[in-house]
């Protein structure tokens, strides 16, 4: 498996996510799309870290840098936190408007 495979999968995931975000009427579905986007990014980080970052030679043994992987973990944590906040907002919106369809929430409409 080369870097291209990963990038293709990541691109597919990203596109699916964007599609979901733009087209779904249900806020939960939009959240799922956002999660897809985030995960595609994480996949990119890990792939680039694995294939692009050169290994270093420290005290005679080959060592891989794990920056990308670590950022991916951060991304997962971020996604979890974001999901919690998002769901709380959805809940509040539901209480306020009686619906979780974002196109109904248009109080700021000009």
């Amino acid at each position: 498996m080369s870097l291209q495979h990963y990038l293709v999968i990541s691109a597919i995931l990203f596109s699916l996510g964007i599609f979901a975000v733009l087209t779904r009427k249900n806020a939960i579905s939009i959240l799922m799309g956002i999660e897809l986007i985030l995960n595609s990014c994480n996949l990119n980080f890990v792939a680039f870290s694995r294939f692009v970052t050169p290994s270093e030679n420290i005290v005679g043994s080959e060592v891989f840098r794990l920056d990308g992987q670590i950022i991916a973990i951060f991304g997962i944590v971020l996604a979890a936190a974001e999901a919690a906040v998002f769901l709380a907002i959805i809940l509040a919106i539901y209480r306020e408007f009686g619906s979780i369809r974002p196109d109904k929430v248009d109080t700021l409409k000009g």
Binding site: V21, L22, P102, V105
Partner: protein, 737 residues
């Protein structure tokens, strides 16, 4: 040492006032302000005596620079010579006694502490004036003294008459002060300094010597006369004398302090201080003003019935004497009379205060409602006048009589003062000083063969006789004869000891023997007058330094022969001998004449007012025009009221009219023009242009907003779509690049 002593002398009274002021800020009053002020004055008195013993004469200047403006520096400092020290002693001594007297006299007054605070401030001002070595310092003290006199004369300001009197005193003296200020500025313009002596060559007195024969005499004369104007105001000389009798509205101790011993003496002191710059011209003016004042005031005093007014006019008259002496070149005699007069006139005022106090207690007791009613009647806003009906009953000599048994100590002390002021020979100080003046004037007349000085001598002699007459009239009417008002007489009593003790001290000081203890004949040295020379036809050379009465000699009563011997031993030369001979002759003549006129005055007074051999009323009716002239005080007040005040009021009305019509007219006209033309134009501009711009901008914004707001759909997915489109666009653009 000197500076410390002067500092103590100045700061003690100032501190007493400052304590009053500080407590005043806290709306409290110091519990024993009277004792505080009195103690401060006593300390100053002791320091003055130490100063006299230790440091006279002290030619060292004690000067510090005060203000620098460009190249000109004003300095402040002390100058101590014999005159300063004598004035210090006179001021502190009289002030201390007046403080003590006031403890009794002012007791129970609602503003009792304030009175003492004012007395302290007054003493400070006077002392500051005396020790200053430059005209600026003197002027500061001068104005402070004026302020304090205003406060003290108007101390009982509930009375309209007192309120008017203090305003009158302030304004009248201010007229003279303007002259003094102009004179000062003339000297300043010429010499670029206001220091009198500053140790170097730059004092006015040093510089003035250099002017001899440079044609600046007229200029210097004018400056001298202008500075003398200040003294005319402060020392109540004709024609600015009218404030002093009215100032008797103040409490009697104030009259004693201000109008007998110190403030009015400031004018004489100033004239004496400026002695070196006086020219023959300005000297003659001073002498004539003095002589006329002496005569005018004495004649007015004859017909007064208010005991304090008699003393007031007598003060004016005696001050005229001193001015006459200084103007005639008898510097020492003038200052000598200033000293003796300070003591016996303070004594007379305090004695009259004692009499008034004796009556006043009764008066307040019986006639409380009556006085209140009377005050309302006095609702007169013009200048204060004395009319027969307005004399307070407790000051009217027609209510007195026979008091010598009731108030023996007051009687004896006042008699001593009266004998002194009348010039009764040999054992009373007034005789020696008055004789010194008369002898000095006659001596100058004989020496210069000058008609003016003979005339002045005549005036002085007349005034001396009249003085003896009216002073004994006062004594006879007050203390002798039968009581005229039995009710008041019964209530009269001798005053408290705090009031009698100062009287006794002053009575002792009116005897020349006592003064021997602190006076030394070498104290007063007459300064040179570089511009005064005897006229060409005079028969002696003008050695002016010794051409004067010797202060110490007359003061101690050393015989004339001894005096001549004393001086003859030092002066060699025929001219000086002739000079001395002339002066000795003049003194002998003057002494004999003055004894004669004093005796005549007393005799006449005795015949009129004690034996009643002649009736004063019939003489008054026989010479009614003259009597009316005296009674109406030569119509000075009427003149000022009718001419000066009326002119001022007329001028004010004129200006008011000018203001109302012309100035207001211009202002209103301008306002109309502005309103009609400018305002219309600006209003048009505002309405059309400025508002137009603002409205157009608003409309455009409004319309744009109406269109643009449709972009905001509120649907998040639309936004996201746009964002995505934007990103794709950006990516495509970057790819294209």
């Amino acid at each position: 040492m000197v500076v410390t002593l002067i500092g103590i002398i100045l700061l003690c009274p100032l501190a007493a006032f400052a304590i009053f002021a500080l407590f005043g800020l806290a709306k409290r009053s110091f519990p024993r302000q009277d004792l505080l002020s009195t103690a401060a004055m006593l300390v100053a008195l002791v320091c003055s005596f130490i100063l006299l013993r230790e440091v006279v004469p002290d030619p060292e200047p004690h000067t510090v620079d005060w203000i620098s403006i460009g190249k000109i520096t004003f300095s402040m400092g002390f100058y101590l010579d014999s005159v300063t020290v004598i004035m210090l002693i006179v001021v502190t001594l009289v002030s201390s006694l007046v403080h003590i007297f006031s403890i009794g006299y002012m007791h129970g007054d609602p503003r009792y502490p304030r009175f003492f605070a004012y007395l302290s401030l007054f003493s400070f001002s006077m002392l500051f004036l005396v020790v200053s070595d430059n005209l600026l310092g003197i002027y500061i003290g001068w104005e402070l003294v004026g302020l304090c006199s205003y406060l003290l004369i108007g101390f009982w300001f509930e009375k309209d008459s007192a309120a008017n009197a203090c305003k009158k005193a302030f304004l009248t003296t201010r007229v003279g002060d303007i002259g003094m200020f102009i004179g000062m500025m003339m000297l300043f313009a010429k010499f670029k300094t206001l220091s009198l002596y500053d140790g170097s060559e730059n004092g006015i007195f040093t510089l003035v010597e250099g002017l001899s024969g440079t044609g600046d005499m007229i200029w210097l004369s004018i400056a001298g006369v202008l500075i003398f104007c200040g003294a005319v105001g402060k020392s109540a000389q004709v024609p600015l004398h009218t404030w002093l009798p009215d100032a008797m509205e103040g409490p009697t101790p104030v009259s004693a302090l201000i109008h007998a011993a110190t403030m009015v003496a400031a004018g004489v002191y100033l004239t004496a201080r400026m002695f070196p710059i006086l020219t023959p011209g300005s000297s003659l003016v001073i002498a004539y003003v003095g002589g006329i004042t002496a005569l005018v005031a004495a004649t007015i005093a004859i017909v007064r019935f208010d005991i304090k007014r008699v003393l007031a006019y007598s003060t004016v008259s005696q001050l005229g004497y001193m001015m006459l002496a200084i103007g005639a070149g008898s510097y020492v005699a003038g200052l000598f009379h200033l000293t003796t007069h300070a003591f016996f006139k303070a004594l007379l005022f305090l004695g009259s205060g004692s009499v008034i106090h004796a009556f006043h207690a009764m008066h307040a007791h019986h006639n409380d409602e009556h006085t209140n009613g009377e005050e309302h009647e006095h609702d007169d806003h013009s200048l204060v006048h004395e009319h027969g009906s307005e004399i307070p009953p407790d000051q009217d000599m027609r209510n007195m009589g026979g008091l010598r048994r009731k108030m023996p100590l007051t009687f004896i002390t006042m008699l001593i003062a009266t004998l002194s002021i009348s010039g009764v020979p040999f054992i009373f100080s007034g005789f020696w000083s008055k004789d010194a003046i008369l002898g000095g004037v006659l001596g100058r007349a004989m020496e210069w063969n000058s008609v003016h000085h003979y005339l002045l001598f005549g005036m002085a002699l007349c005034a001396a006789g009249i003085t003896a007459f009216y002073m004994f009239r006062l004594i006879f009417m007050t203390f002798f004869g039968e009581p005229r008002n039995q009710e008041m007489h019964d209530m009269a009593h001798e005053s408290l000891w705090v009031m009698v003790v100062p009287l006794l001290v002053l009575a002792i000081l009116s005897l020349p023997v006592v003064n021997k203890l602190w006076f030394n004949k070498d104290y007063i040295i007459r300064p040179d007058q570089p511009h005064v020379h005897a006229p060409q036809h005079a028969y002696v050379s003008p050695d002016t330094k010794t051409g004067d009465v010797d202060f110490g000699i007359v003061f101690f009563g050393i015989s004339e022969a001894e005096a001549a011997e004393d001086e003859g031993g030092q002066d060699i030369g025929h001219a000086d001998d002739a000079h001395h001979a002339a002066h000795e002759l003049a003194h002998n003549i003057a002494m004999v004449l003055s004894i004669i006129v004093a005796g005549l005055g007393i005799l006449l007074s005795w015949l009129f007012y004690h034996r009643r051999r002649f009736s004063a009323e019939s003489v008054a009716t026989k010479f009614s025009p003259v009597y009316n002239l005296f009674w109406n005080k030569y119509y000075f007040d009427e003149f000022y009221d009718g001419v000066l005040v009326a002119l001022t009021v007329w001028k004010s009305r004129l200006f008011a009219k000018f203001d109302l019509s012309v100035v207001d007219g211009i202002v209103n006209g301008v306002a109309t023009i502005v309103r009609q033309i400018f305002a219309a134009f600006i209003g048009f501009f505002d309405n059309r242009v400025v508002d137009g711009i603002v409205n157009r901008v608003a409309e455009v914004t409004w319309a744009a907003g109406g269109r643009i707001r449709r972009i905001q759909t509120g649907a998040i997915q639309t936004y996201l779509f746009v964002v995505l489109g934007g990103i794709v666009l950006i990516i495509l653009i970057f790819r294209a690049l």
